[in-house]
Point group: D2
Chain length 431, copies 4
C-alpha cells in the first residue's frame, strides 16, 4: 500500500498483526464450537484464549523455516499451551483459517466502506438540493447543449451512488461466508455442524460448497463492485476538473490555507485531488481484472490467487475508502461560483435555445425538416462569426411570421428548462 | 462478431435491422403515450406504424450525408408519412431512442442468457447427483490431497452458477430502465408522465436521473457480471482439460463421429472445446474492462462509449451465450471414466491418507508436532523412492504401538471422506 | 468486426477467403522447398498450384464433419489433385500452416498500419510547422499555466508518433517469423532446411525455438504496441475535444456539409470523431490484455489462444488502422481559430505571467520565498475577484521599487515564451 | 508494496528517502550546469551539496502545509542555505525534477532487472544443454502428442527470454530521458543547453518534446514489456506446475529442509513458488493496463497519472524483479526425475507414434486419407479400451503388407524425434 493513501481504520485492518488476530479469532471460534458439541472439554477455548500469544516476529521467523505461514502461526501461537493445544486447529486445514479470516476482513472493510458511502450520499443530496434551482448550461460532447439545473449534476451522482450502495450491500451479504470443511471441502475431519456454529459466532454463513478454499467469485464480485464505485467517483472528479478549467471556472475544489499549486507558477490552483481520484479509478479497474483472473483455480484449488490477493485486497479496499473519504471532503467543500455558472449560459448568445426555436416553428406549422434546416443554417453561421444567434433568427422573415415577439423572447429563457426539475427530485423524496 | 461463434437467437438480436426495429418500437411507444395524454390525436400511432418503413440501405445512405445515425433513421423511416410525422420523435433527443432501445436489447439478451444458465444449472445438478458417491482424489496445487466425491466438483460449480444466476437476475432488473427526458435529461420538451407511460409499454422503468444518456454504470455492472459467469465456465473448462490430460484421463469432452484431433497425429482427442471456452473467458474479462472505462463521461455526456459499445455489447452477449450453450453440451455429454477415477486415488500408494494417520496418532496421544514430523518423514521419502507409504508407516514401531492393525486398515479407505457428502447435498434439496 | 469501422485494405485481409489463400500460400512454399531439396519431384508445386481450389463453402461444410479447420481445408483444397497431393501438407502439422500464415497476415497488416502512421506523421509535422509561432496558453491540470507555442502540441504528438513508428518497425521485424517444425516443434518429419527455404520464400525467418506453435509473446508485443499507438491517438483526440469545448473553442474537428450534430439541437457541432477515437483506445488496451493472457500456454501448446485471437487479431489491426486513418483526416482538416487561440491567453488578465514576476523579483534581489508569497497573494485574490492581476501587482510598492515600468510591461508578453521554440524544432530538422 | 515480496536492491530504490535523494541529484546537476554556462557563480553547486539536508520527516511535515511535495522538499532541503539557494530549483518546474528523477529510478531499476534476466538466461541455457538428449513426451492440449527433447522446453524459454532481454534493452535506452524545460516544456526560464548538460551528467538525454512532463508512452512501454516478461515466467511456472502434478511427477520445484506443504496433510509437496509466480503475472498485466490508461493526459499535462504511478512503478519493478530472482532459484534448483520423464512416454502404449505409422503407410503407397482413417480407428479404440496401440496396429493385415517388422519396431522409438535437436541448438551457438 502507498503510505500516503492509507487511512484509518482501514490501515489497521490490514497489518500483519491484525491478520494474525483474525486467524486466532477463527481458531477460537472453532474450539468453542467443539466445546459446544462436546468434542473438546469445557474450558478449552478459555484456556487457549488465555495462553495464545501473537508475536509477529516469532511467527515470521518460524515461517522462514517451515515456508508456510499458517503452520508458522500455529507453532508460534501455541507454544505456551499445554494439552489444550490438541484442539487448536483441530480438524482444520490452513485455508479454513485463512479464507474465513479473509472474509472477516473483507466484511469489516466493506462495512466501513458502506458507511463512507452513506456519508457521501448525504453530502451529494444536500448539494443537489442546494443547487436545484441554479440554472447552468448542460454540455454534451463538451459543447453547450441546453440549460439545465446545476443541482441535477449532484442528483445524478447521488442516484448512481444509491445504486452502488445497494449493489455493495448485496455483495456484503454475499461475501459474509466462511468455510471450515477441511483439506478438500468434504468435512473429512470436522462436521458441518461445527462449521455452522463456529461461523455463526463470527457472523458468517457457510459457503454452500467449498473446495479447499472459498470460490473466488465472491472476491471478484466485490472488486468489480468497487470498480463501479470508483467509476462514479471518477465521473464526479472529471466533472469538477472540467468545471475548474480556467475558461469555465464554475467550481473549484477546496484549496487549503498555505497550499501551493506549483513550484514555478504562484497563480496556480489546480484540481489535484480530483486528478488523484481519476488516477485511482484506473487502479480500481485493474484490481477487478486481477480478481477475475483469480477465479479459475485448478481442481480443488491452487494457490495462485494468494500472491495476487496480498496486493489487491488491502490496496483495493484502502484505495476505494480513500477515494470515498476524499470525495466527501471534495463535495462538501466544493466552491461553486454561481454568477459564473449563470453567465456561462449566455456565452453563445442564444445558440443553446436552438431547439426551442425549432419546436416553436414546428408547432407553428413548419415541417420539422424545414425548421431544422433553417435553424441549423443560422446556428452554424453564428458559431463561425460570433454573431448573436438570437438576433440572426429574429431577423428572419418566416420566423417573424410564425412567432410573436413576446413568444420569441420567452424562447430564450433558461427557466423553461427547469420546469420539470421538481418532479425529478420528487422521485427521491417518495422513496 | 466472429461468425462461427454467433448463435441464434442472439445473432439476430444484433443485426442492424433488429436495431432499427427497436428504435421504431421506442418511437412508437412514445407516440402512443402522447396519444394517451392527449398531445397527439387518436390514431396517430396507428398511422405511423402503418407507414413506417425500415429500409436498412436507405438509412445507411442517408447517414452518409448527415453523419448521424438517428437522424438518418428518422429521415428514412418517416419519408412516406404525412402530417403524423410531426409526432414522430417529438420532444425526443437521439439518445432517448438509442439508449432506451439499447436497454431493450440488453434485457432481451439477458433473458436469453438467463434461460441458458438455468438449463446449464440443471445439467450440472444432474451430474452432481450422478457422481455423488463416486470417490475421486481431491487435488490441491495439482498434487494429490485427499479423497473426495467426484460429484462434488459439479455441485461446487452448480452452487457458483446459482450465485451467478441470482446476480444476473438482479442486474437484469437493474438494467430494465429507459430514459425519455430529452437533450440533457431535464424533460425540457417531454414530460416525466409521457416517459413513464411509454417505458411501461416497453417493460422498462425510468432511470431516476439521466443526463443525455443513461449512466453507464448499468452496462458496466452487466458486463462485470458476465465476466463472473465466464470465470466459472473457465474454471469448469480448466478442470476438464486437467481431467482429460493423458496421465489423468478421468474424463473427456465429447468427440464427435468423424472428428479429427490433429492433421498430423491420428491418435489425438483434444479438449478443444474447453480450450476455446478458456480463451473466451479472457475476452469476457476484457469487455468488462472497457465497460468500466466507459463510465466517466464528460458533463451531461460525451459519446466516447458509443464506438466501444458497438463492439462489446454484441460481442459480450453473444460470446457469453455461446459459452453457456457449449458448456451445457460439454457437461451433458461429458465422458467420465469411473474406473480410472477410482484407480487414480491409489497411485501414490497411500500417501493421500497421511492426515488420517496424523490425526489417529494425535488421538492416540502423540503430540501434533511429533506426529506431523513422523508422518512427513515417511511421506517425503515415499514421494522420492516410489515406495508404498502405507507399508512404510505400518512398519514404524511407534505407529504399531498406537494404532491397531484393524484401525490401520480402515485409515486407508476412501469412503471415510464421503461421510458428510449427504449433508452437503441436503443444503440444496432444502433450498 | 464492426462493419462501419472496417476499412480497406485491412478488411479484405481478414476475410475467410483471404485466410485460406494464405494457408495455401504457405503449403505451396513448403512444396516448393521440398522440390528444391529433392524430396518432391520437379513440377509438383506447379501442379498443385494449378489444381488447388479454394471453395470457402465446401471447406466450411467439411469442417462440420471433421471439426478441425485445417483438416477440412486440406481435404477440400486437394480434392481435384492426383498423386501430387501426397506432398501437400507433407510433414507438417496444422499449426505450421496456421501460425505461419498468421504471421503473414500480421506482417502485412503491420506494413499497412506503418504506412498510415508515416502519413499521419507528415500531417502532424506540417501542422507543427504551420502553428509554430502561434502563441497559445499552455494548460496544466486544465488550468492556465503559461503561454507556449500552439505548434508545439503537434510537435509533441509528432515526436511520440516517431517513437511509435520506431517501436512498431522493431516489432514488425520481430514478428516476421514462421515455424514449419511439426507437431511439437522438433522437426520430426520436416527438416530445418526445408523450413528455412519455405519461410524465405514467404519473407519470414524461422522462430528460433517453437513448440507446436510460435510463442505468443510476439503477438502480445504487437498488440501492446498497438495499445501505445492508440494511447497517442487518444491523447490527440482528448486535446481536440478540449479545444472544441464551447468555452475554449480554439479548434474544431471537420464538420461535413449536410452533417447534423443532434436530432434535437440544430446548433450542435460535436467532436464526435474524437470521441469515437477515445472509445476505441479503450478497446485497443483491452486487446493487449487478452494477448498478455494468451501467452502462458500449457506444455507444447494448448489452443486456448485461438478463440480469443479470432476476435482480437482482426479487430485490433482493423481498429488501429481506422484510428490512424481518421486521425490523419482529423488533423489534416482541423479548423483552428487563431484569433480565439490568442484571445484566450489573456482571459485571466495577466495571471499566467505570475512566474515571470516571481523570477523578476528574485533577480532583483527578493528571496524566492518572499516573492512567491507576494505573488501568490495577489494571484489568488484575482482568481476570486476577477480583478486584473497585472494591475494589482503593478500597484504594489515593493514591486515598483524592484521592477521598472518598462521591464514590467515586458513581463506580460507571450513572445518571451517562444524564445526557445526554434531550438526545439531544430532537433527534428537535424535528425 | 507487499513487504514479503520486496527484495533488495530494488526495495531501497523506492524508499521515500531514496526518492528525495534522486530529486536532490537532479537539482544539483542543474546547478552544476548553470555553473558551467556561467549563470551561477563557480562553487555554487559545491556549497549547495554541502548544505543540503534531506530530512524525510521535516519534508513530510512541510507538505502538510503546502500540499505540494516538491515545494515541501525545496523548502526543507534549502533551509540551511544562504544566498546560493537562489540557484536551487532555478528556472525549473516541479515536474522537471520529479520526472527526471523518475527516469533515473526506472533506468536503475531496469538495469537491475536486466542483470537478473541475464542470470536467468544462463541458468535456462544450462538446463537446456543438460536435458538436451533426454527424451520426453511432448504434450499438446494437455494430451500426449509425440516425443521430443526435455531440454527443448528450457531452450524455448531461453529463446523467449533472449527476445525479452532485447526488448527491455531497447526500452531501457528509450526511457533514459529527462526533461528540464519548465512549466509547459518551452524552456521559458531555462535553456535547452542547460538541460542537455545537466541530463548528460545524469546519464540521460532530453526527451525531444515535453509538455510539463515527459510523455507517458515511455512508462507504458516499459510496463508492457514487464508484462511480456511476466508472461514468460508464468509460462515456465505453469509448465512446472504441470510437471509436478502427482500423475505426471517429472519435475518438482525445490522443497526446503523443514518446509511443510500443508498444515493438515504431511505428505504434501506443492509447487507453491510456481503458483505464486502465476498470480504475480496477473498483477504485472494489470500494471500495464493502468500505464496505458495513464497516457492521455489533458493539454500540457494533468496529474492523474501520479497517484497511479505511486503504486505501479514501485510495485511493478519490485514484483518483476522478485519473479525473475525466484524463477532463477526455481530453475537452478529444479528436481527432474529423469526415469519418470522417460517412463511417461510409454503410458499410452505406442499411441504417440501414430503419425509415424501414418507417414510410413503413406510412403509405402497408401493415400493419406486412407492411412489417417485406418490409424485413427485403432488409436481411438485404444484410448477407450486401454489396449496396446502398437499391438493393434501390428496385427492389421494391410500394415503388415506395407511395413516390415524391422521397420515397424523402429517406428516406435523416441530417438527418431531427437534427430534434428542438434540443429536447433546450433542456432544459438552460432549467435
Amino acid at each position: 500500500m502507498v503510505e500516503r493513501y492509507a487511512l484509518e481504520p482501514l490501515k489497521s485492518l490490514w497489518t500483519l498483526k491484525a491478520q494474525y488476530e483474525r486467524w486466532l479469532e477463527v481458531e477460537l471460534a472453532v474450539v468453542e464450537a467443539y466445546e459446544q458439541v462436546g468434542v473438546a472439554p469445557k474450558g478449552t477455548s478459555e484456556e487457549i484464549r488465555k495462553k495464545a500469544v501473537i508475536d509477529v516476529d516469532d511467527i515470521l521467523a518460524t515461517e522462514q523455516v517451515v515456508d508456510h505461514d499458517v503452520i508458522a502461526f500455529i507453532k508460534s501461537v501455541t507454544k505456551n499451551m499445554g494439552d489444550e493445544a490438541r484442539y487448536f486447529h483441530y480438524g482444520l486445514t490452513s485455508s479454513d483459517v485463512v479464507d474465513t479470516a479473509n472474509s472477516l476482513a473483507l466484511v469489516r472493510a466493506t462495512d466501513i466502506i458502506l458507511e463512507s458511502m452513506e456519508k457521501l450520499s448525504a453530502v451529494l443530496y444536500e448539494k443537489a438540493l442546494q443547487y436545484k434551482t441554479l440554472p447552468t448550461i448542460g454540455r454534451t460532447h463538451g459543447v453547450h447543449a441546453e440549460p439545465t439545473s446545476f443541482g441535477l449534476k449532484f442528483l445524478s451522482w447521488y442516484a448512481e451512488l444509491l445504486r452502488d450502495i445497494e449493489r455493495l450491500k448485496n455483495v456484503r451479504e454475499e461475501i459474509a461466508v466462511g468455510k471450515l470443511s477441511g483439506a478438500v471441502g468434504n468435512y473429512a475431519n470436522i462436521s458441518p455442524e461445527v462449521e455452522r456454529i463456529a461461523l455463526e459466532k463470527l457472523g458468517l454463513k457457510p459457503t454452500p460448497v467449498a473446495t479447499q478454499v472459498i470460490s473466488r467469485d465472491y472476491i471478484a464480485h466485490l472488486l468489480a463492485t468497487f470498480a463501479l464505485i470508483a467509476g462514479l467517483i471518477e465521473r464526479i472528479a472529471i466533472e469538477i476538473r472540467h468545471l475548474q478549467r480556467t475558461e469555465v471556472l464554475e467550481a473549484m475544489e477546496p484549496f487549503k490555507e498555505g497550499q501551493r499549486g506549483s513550484s514555478a507558477m504562484p497563480h496556480k490552483k489546480n484540481p489535484i485531488l480530483c486528478e488523484r481520484l481519476t488516477g485511482m479509478a484506473r487502479l480500481m479497474r485493474s484490481y477487478a481484472q486481477v480478481a477475475f483472473e483469480n477465479m479459475a483455480l485448478w481442481h480443488e484449488r491452487d494457490i495462485s490467487h494468494s500472491s495476487a490477493e496480498r496486493y489487491i485486497l488491502p490496496d483495493s479496499t484502502m484505495t476505494i475508502y480513500y477515494m470515498l473519504e476524499k470525495a466527501r471532503y471534495l463535495i462538501g467543500n466544493l466552491k461553486v461560483f454561481e454568477d459564473k455558472v449563470k453567465k456561462n449560459i449566455d456565452i453563445t448568445q442564444g445558440l443553446v435555445y436552438s431547439q426551442r426555436i425549432l419546436l416553436a416553428l414546428v408547432e407553428a406549422g413548419m415541417s420539422r425538416e424545414e425548421a431544422y434546416t433553417l435553424v441549423q443554417k443560422y446556428a452554424l453561421e453564428c458559431w463561425e462569426t460570433g454573431e448573436s444567434f438570437k438576433e440572426r433568427v429574429r431577423s428572419d422573415e418566416k420566423v417573424r411570421q410564425l412567432i410573436t415577439e413576446e413568444k420569441f423572447e420567452e424562447l430564450f429563457r433558461p427557466d423553461y428548462y427547469l420546469r420539470n426539475i421538481d418532479k425529478i427530485y420528487e422521485r427521491f423524496e417518495k422513496s
